[in-house]
């Protein structure tokens, strides 16, 4: 199930909130959350729910030993065993088809490449389990004695399939005791409703515009797509790539907003996952603002244990390379994702070692440089088929012999002009600033307006999102490849 589906909005979510608040104590409330989370996951993955419960059970068992023997070699042994099981399963489900596809292409072996289905959210919940076991090993948190409470942490539908990657130590106390006051509920409703509107009313439309102009980008569609892409006007390709850049931010951050909002409504406080990344003034800054839970995971569990910046420049550079190779791989089993990770490694290394002055550029140039790098990064990310990606890259600069502007591209721009302006504004803190300004004003008219906005905007977001979901079938789930 996904948050932006009508079954979720009209049945699952209201029912979950009703049953949750009818339950009297924390034990019963946790049971409600576990049951609803399992139904949520099983709705989309009826078979792979077994895998999620199995991985959680294995890690729960191993974590008891990791904790019991903490400070000894046995603890390390159980940690390595747990990590091997988790990463082995992740590698099997996510990368086997890709690797065998490569060996088939180069060596003709195996003769038939098996297609292995990717369980939804496996990258997210595997990383959550890894962080739990490592934190237990490090003594930062005690092992959870009750399996069902670890299952609640791993399967909690707020963050299980699309993040943020919540650390066990951040919610371990909230699992046992949590309280929701009116401020939490108010903030939760605001975050959930704004996330819903961002996903349904903005991200989906951006996605539809991108797929209309730069098509699917998939290898399977190469023959069908290439003639269209080769002849597409540059303006149309710029619009498509731009719309995809907007979609991926709005979609991903919207999911995090909804997760944070729903968490607040039941007393969980998840950390922020995005901080207006398109306002970054360097690539280093961009990755401090983009998918922060993933960046901090790699920092704390890979980069620093490898030595971070404490073992000389060369070693730091190698550590960064490993981290960005893994970051690329985490996003999908494909060369374009790996290259996308290495592309960011290049710019981060450039900023860190070769041209540290890049970060001190005047603000306008710094933003422009960052946006250009990120823009072309998304082009690389989008096209799993390099041939189509290369054609689009050339087409952006009219190098395919294509026109700069055509009748269609001009019309597409005009058809979506106001929408694109709104979508760009939604990527900035401007709407939030304006909203807070109106709501916190002491002026009589502003108080009235603020109250109306405060009460009506979440309901309006719900009504318009439902009308979109009824009236439009384009509702992609971007995280299937993650």
């Amino acid at each position: 199930m996904v948050f932006s589906s009508l079954v979720f909005l009209c049945v699952f979510f209201p029912l979950q909130m009703l049953v949750y608040y009818l339950a009297r104590d924390i034990e019963a409330r946790n049971t409600v959350l576990i049951l609803f989370s399992l139904v949520f996951y099983a709705w989309g993955e009826p078979f792979f729910i077994v895998l999620l419960v199995f991985m959680c059970f294995v890690d729960w068992g191993l974590s008891q030993f990791i904790y019991k023997y903490r400070g000894t070699g046995k603890s390390r042994f159980f940690l390595v065993l747990g990590c091997t099981v988790d990463l082995g399963l992740l590698a099997f489900f996510k990368y086997t088809s890709f690797l065998l596809g490569e060996t088939h292409q180069w060596f003709g072996f195996p003769s038939v490449v098996p297609k292995i289905a990717l369980p939804i959210g496996i990258s997210f919940y595997t990383f959550q389990l890894l962080s739990y076991m490592v934190d237990v090993y490090r003594g930062e948190v005690a092992a959870q004695r009750h399996f069902r409470l670890l299952l609640l942490y791993v399967s909690l539908f707020h963050q299980c399939i699309a993040g943020p990657i919540v650390r066990y130590k951040d919610v371990s106390e909230q699992i046992l005791s949590r309280h929701v006051d009116s401020q939490n509920m108010r903030d939760g409703i605001n975050r959930f409703a704004s996330g819903l509107a961002k996903k349904v009313l903005l991200a989906n439309v951006c996605g539809s515009l991108a797929s209309k102009t730069i098509l699917s980008g998939a290898l399977a569609d190469q023959a069908k797509n290439l003639p269209t892409l080769e002849n597409a006007a540059a303006l149309s390709l710029w619009l498509g790539c731009f719309a995809y850049g907007l979609q991926i931010y709005l979609d991903f951050s919207a999911y995090s907003d909804m997760a944070i909002g729903m968490g607040l409504m039941v007393g969980f406080h998840y950390k922020e996952n995005f901080n207006y990344p398109y306002l970054a003034n360097s690539i280093t800054d961009f990755w401090r603002r983009w998918h922060m839970s993933l960046s901090s995971f790699f920092r704390d569990y890979v980069y620093i244990p490898l030595g971070g910046n404490r073992k000389g420049r060369l070693r730091q550079c190698v550590n960064l390379l490993i981290v960005w190779f893994l970051t690329g791989m985490w996003h999908g089993a494909g060369w374009n994702f790996i290259l996308w990770g290495l592309y960011y490694f290049l710019f981060l290394a450039l900023e860190k070692f070769l041209i540290p002055g890049l970060q001190r550029l005047p603000a306008v140039f710094a933003h422009l440089y960052t946006l250009v790098v990120v823009f072309f990064g998304w082009v690389l990310f989008y096209f799993t088929d390099f041939t189509q990606g290369w054609v689009v890259l050339k087409g952006l600069f009219c190098l395919n012999g294509n026109a700069l502007i055509s009748f269609e591209s001009r019309n597409i721009l005009l058809n979506y002009l106001f929408f694109l302006i709104v979508a760009v504004i939604a990527c900035t803190p401007l709407p939030r600033m304006l909203y807070h300004r109106v709501c916190s004003s002491t002026n009589g008219a502003a108080i009235a307006l603020g109250t109306v906005l405060e009460w009506c905007l979440p309901v309006a977001a719900l009504v318009f999102s439902i009308s979109y979901l009824v009236g439009d079938s384009y509702n992609p789930f971007l995280y299937l490849q993650f």
Partner: protein, 117 residues
Amino acid sequence: MRHAKQYRRGSRGKAALFFLALFAFGIFSMLLPLRPTQSAMEKRELAKFPQFSVETLANGQYTKDIDTWFADTFPLRDMFFKLNSWVQSLYGIKTVEIVGTVEQGDEIPDAPFIKDK
């Protein structure tokens, strides 16, 4: 103190309104007699509730089909369609609307084509 009380009361009212709307949509969507079976606007028969089978349940098709049925036969769907169309009309300046993927058409001949006699 008074401001804090008002704020709390405001927050409760807001939560009450939001959940009222959420539950209203929930109940409304479950009123099966209100669910249409045909769309006059689109001139087509709408999705039917899927037949249960263990196989479709196991491979996820059953729940996927329920999602499709739920969205396709949503009560007052034509009204929601109109609301969505109105929102879409605000996206930009409507000159000629491009619907679907723009593909290269047949080449326009630059000379008259003469059939062999």
